[in-house]
Symmetry: C2
Subunit: 337 residues, 2 copies
Amino acid sequence: MANINDVAKLAGVSKSSVSRVINGNFEHMSDNTKNKILRAMKELEYSPNTLAQSLKKKTTKTIGIILSDISNPFWSEVLKGVQKECMRMGYGLMVSSSGEKEQIEKENILTLRNKQVDGLIINTTGKNTDLFNSLINEKYPFVFLDRSTDISNIDTVIVNNILGAKMSTQYLIDQGHRNIGILLYPLENKSPRIDRLEGYKEALKINGIQINHDLIKICEDQNGSGVEATKEMLALPTRPTAIFSTNTILNLEVIMGVKKAGLKLPEDVSLIGYDDYPWVPLLDPPLTTVSQPAFEMGVKSTALLIKKMKQKKQIKPKIIQLEPELMIRSSCLPPLK
Amino acid sequence: MANINDVAKLAGVSKSSVSRVINGNFEHMSDNTKNKILRAMKELEYSPNTLAQSLKKKTTKTIGIILSDISNPFWSEVLKGVQKECMRMGYGLMVSSSGEKEQIEKENILTLRNKQVDGLIINTTGKNTDLFNSLINEKYPFVFLDRSTDISNIDTVIVNNILGAKMSTQYLIDQGHRNIGILLYPLENKSPRIDRLEGYKEALKINGIQINHDLIKICEDQNGSGVEATKEMLALPTRPTAIFSTNTILNLEVIMGVKKAGLKLPEDVSLIGYDDYPWVPLLDPPLTTVSQPAFEMGVKSTALLIKKMKQKKQIKPKIIQLEPELMIRSSCLPPLK
DNA sequence: TTGAAAGCGCTAACAC
DNA sequence: GTGTTAGCGCTTTCAA
């Protein structure tokens, strides 16, 4: 691979001049010099070493994203949006995944930072508060995606999860349901989970329905736990006539759980899931779900980060809240009398 | 952010010594010096600038992947495997997507190369032969993933697509089907598509079934074209009693197409799809598909690339061929008499 | 309009 | 054991 010196030598000029054409600073350059350099570059198939440029310019034109769980198809869709916006803006993208582990999240952040990426999109585990505070201190640009933390004043792209849960719970209530179960992954510090439970409770409260804690199931993260949880819930004396599932994986496990309990969907029990995909309408039964604008989340968070990186002086952080949408299909029916 | 000079100054030593402890070359260093440096590093919260290290060491410990189409959930699964193996081996990962465009693929490759990533995993559009040849010339390490090209002697991770198509076509024939339709995206130079058509034809041939070109539908890439293609095929005088779909997106479109044609799956027409996911068994009907080891493809291609990068002298390129598996569910029935 | 020289943050050969 | 020095490939003053 040829370098700037090779080009300079071949063109018979100094490397400063070559650098000028690399960076498009021709204004005061003779056409002759310029052409000589251009020709030499072509001949050597030269293209500048981005690493060296970055070291000097102190910017890599690359951002990093840290996902909590790359397994969830929801994040693939988000990633697609991130990727697209990066491409459009001429940025590179480094991807990593924390697997919901605080420690790995921390390492990933540190590694990416050392690689000098210009900014970070973080779908945080919700912990690591100290680290985030120190990033803020250093004025290192980052945005939170989908999940916020206790730390206020961070640019964030988020979906209205209270609304999503409220809408779907209300929809079930409107159909006549009173015993509505909800399945969640452990709340920990994760705002979407907390908010979805909150929205569920709010809807019940507004409608004067007592909260039954047996109908709130916290499933273990990641291992088919939703199937068992569903069966347990359906074995309850106060068996729910409807279930609200708060995660893509859980949606599938609830469907399996209901079948295993020997019950029929939606005749015996109604179901609303979370997140929407092209295949959801083709499930048996076609699932009513809360749809989140995943792709848009990716695009918006990237745009927000890039904007933040570009502005020299601190501007007031922005919280972009997107709205979920209830996709009504045929997995809900009024309860049997 | 502190740099190596700050540490050296604070510890009262030269930066060579600091560099030594960064790189773990303590053997001949006094404990005293070492401790002074360690303390200074901690105090300044120092961590080395990877960019500068890379420029000097001529290796970035980062690889790049170029996907043809990040939209397909299949690639999310592959990416998961790539990500995991990168993590395990201490490599960073840069992700880009060509959207099946030759020109964008080329730009992506060039950009990543300029960013000095140590190697590339390429799920190629199948064109860009000249570029690949020049990479080979420069001894720049890359592996092909899922698709191969005319260029021989490239490390490649691939799935046996002929077998996948043959297995599923044979399965349909065994059920008594003779009129079997196949849906494909444009073959262009894409080996999996070519091979799947080949496998389909081979199975027919072995069983003495004449190929009917009306039953081979090439759908336009990416726009619901599969729905129309299915309807057209089902309107044929020699209407197929079974359909073989060769892509995740097409699977869904065929299901929709059959419904729109007023036909029932699997009673009126059997269907085998390609690629498997947790939600496939929950579709209506539970879909029989050819399952590809997507995650494993990601892991294996990464491992192969890293191995290739590490060996100094050229070793004979390796083709890793993985096997697909037919996941039999209930979307196929013997044809009506 | 162009070139010389310093320096981005680090490593490594060499000298002591 | 430790420091000096040159240099990775580039950009950017500054001077000519």
